[in-house]
């Protein structure tokens, strides 16, 4: 059953939620929007057509986080995970879908990551569909879409003066108990908007068979060609909602063992103690990034490890575009031509 949330009631509703959740919403900070705790009197920012710069995965896998605290005489203890209830308001469907992909990494039967798990369990996600999809996004190409429901507890459609609210889980239903039902006309208008948004997004590249192309061309000069202008800055992975690699370091002076986001685009990432590096240049590192998303994820969970959010395209300092890279990959031969 769909509900109607008048925009001028939003502040009241957010205030109500704040009574028993820490509410996160997109807010302006310097030149970008970020998911930040919503304080009394501040308003969420939706006017930017695109998404927050840092994906909300950072609220579940923080950029830097202590795993252990060192105690006296060489001892150590586990750092407790954050458990207070949270509500993320205005998360975009690509980012919510990314969380479901990351669940398959962090919530495995053996070795569940308690930090990820407790944060996920304590958080409710209210999504905002993209009625004006961003220019660099290609969610529809990779099996998602501007109104993808994956991972969300409720999704909002912007109807101008009001939001149409579609609750998707029990957790989501509990948030919107006071609202009126949407009329048939409002439902129809939302459906039209959602369909129009989907249809406005062109197919960025052919997804069918991309894994086979990348696998067959593991030793192809293609990787050298597409990585030639790469600076190795790592921003494509840092801002990627599905990248999850991390480093673990001992911060001796702080007395903590910390995990920090890491990136396969850095040389030291795979550098071994002997000096050997399986991925010595940006050629191998670019191959790892693309193959991970478009081949290895597919092997592991039968899903592409990219939700088409478009951040890697938007923020690449030299304008490298994963869509163009994959279009080019589709031109490659399907058989192995180069020895491993």
């Amino acid at each position: 059953m769909n509900l109607i949330l008048k925009k001028d009631h939003l502040t009241d509703l957010l205030n109500t939620w704040r009574g028993n959740h820490e509410v996160y919403a997109p807010q302006s900070l310097q030149k970008f929007t970020h998911f930040l705790p919503l304080l009394e009197g501040s308003e969420p920012v939706f006017d930017q057509a695109h998404n927050t710069r840092i994906p909300p995965k950072a609220l579940f896998l923080p950029i830097s986080e202590a795993l252990l605290k060192f105690t006296r005489f060489g001892g150590y203890e586990q750092v407790p995970s954050q458990k207070a209830p949270r509500l993320i308001f205005g998360i975009r469907p690509c980012d919510a879908r990314a969380l479901t992909l990351l669940d398959t990494v962090f919530k495995q039967e053996r070795y569940t990551d308690p930090h990820w798990q407790t944060r996920r369990d304590a958080t409710v996600l209210v999504g905002l569909g993209c009625h004006e999809p961003c220019q660099t996004g290609f969610c529809t190409t990779v099996g998602s879409g501007p109104f993808d429901r994956a991972g969300l507890d409720a999704i909002l459609t912007d109807l101008g003066e009001e939001f149409l609210v579609e609750t998707l889980t029990e957790k989501g239903e509990c948030l919107f108990t006071q609202l009126k039902r949407a009329s048939d006309e409002q439902n129809a208008r939302a459906m039209d908007l959602q369909q129009a948004a989907r249809e406005s997004m062109p197919t960025a590249f052919e997804v069918e068979g991309i894994k086979q192309k990348l696998d067959a061309n593991f030793a192809s000069p293609y990787w050298e060609e597409i990585s030639r202008s790469c600076l190795g800055c790592g921003v494509c992975t840092f801002l990627c909602p599905t990248c999850f690699c991390f480093d673990i370091v001992d911060e001796a002076q702080r007395g903590e063992r910390v995990r920090n986001w890491d990136t396969c685009m850095f040389r030291t990432y795979s550098l071994e103690a002997s000096g050997h590096n399986p991925r010595p240049s940006r050629v191998e590192r670019t191959r790892q990034r693309l193959s991970h998303k478009y081949s290895y994820w597919v092997d592991q969970i039968s899903q592409i490890g990219c939700t088409g959010c478009g951040r890697c395209v938007r923020y690449c300092p030299v304008g490298l575009d994963i869509r163009a890279m994959l279009r080019k990959a589709q031109q490659l031969p399907s058989e192995v031509l180069h020895a491993k």
């Binding site: 060489g74 569940t112 995990r259 002997s274």
Partner: protein
Amino acid sequence: MPNEAKSPYLPIPMRVLRAYYESTDRSLKTLELGFDDPQDARDFFAAFNPGQFCLLSVIGKGESALGVANAAWEGDFVRFTAQKMGSVTTALHALKPGDPIGMRGPLGNGFPLEDWKGKNLVIIGGGCAFSTLYALTKHLHHPSNREDYGKLTVIYGTRTSGLCMYKQDIAAWHQRDDMEVHQAIDVPEQDWLHHVGYVPDVVKEVKPSPVNSVVVVCGPPIMTKFTLPALVELGFAPETIFTSLEKRMKCGIGKCGRCNLGPKYICKDGPVFSLAELNALPADI
């Protein structure tokens, strides 16, 4: 910490029981660690399989992945041999009996010992990579395990005789009638009674039979690279050739991302792979 699941990043509290140099040049040191809590020992050995590894924690320095070098029947301790390379292994070399140390594990799959039952085993090792093969050989030496397997052949090469690990034990293996041992060094030395030459050449000389046999190869990449084709030439099928891989690791449980070989993580899906499995994976090593 009430109601909080135990973190897989939380090391088991251990203590150094014994620490001794393994090689005459003091680049290799063996640590034998005891458990602070007997329950941890029971949990560890209930899960342990030769070929697995652990992450040793020196608090304030970090973690280092090392193969387990003992069999469960040897006692309630875990043995590792570390080559002094970086800051963590240097700190490991400085540890003395009684010092506390953290350990996460056992991690990885280990050798598929169930599948190998009834077969002849050929164990080929080079340098300090022999540690998990030592654990495997020790495991097989236990009478209740030995009868499950056929002929046992060990080929172990090091650059010099001084770099050979577990010297006393291996010297004793030559006297055993239930196994064949071939030791090798790269260049001749006075009083050396065994093979002289690189491991792939020694393998060609010893010519282990592929009939009803499996072979395990662990060594430096250059040794593995030339030993695998020699074994294929001797008639070993890729499904019967096993090796243990290494890459840089952080988490050890398939989350931090860096030790992948295509869709497989060496820490979680390995470190032991058959050549048939490796042939299907990208050569990203």
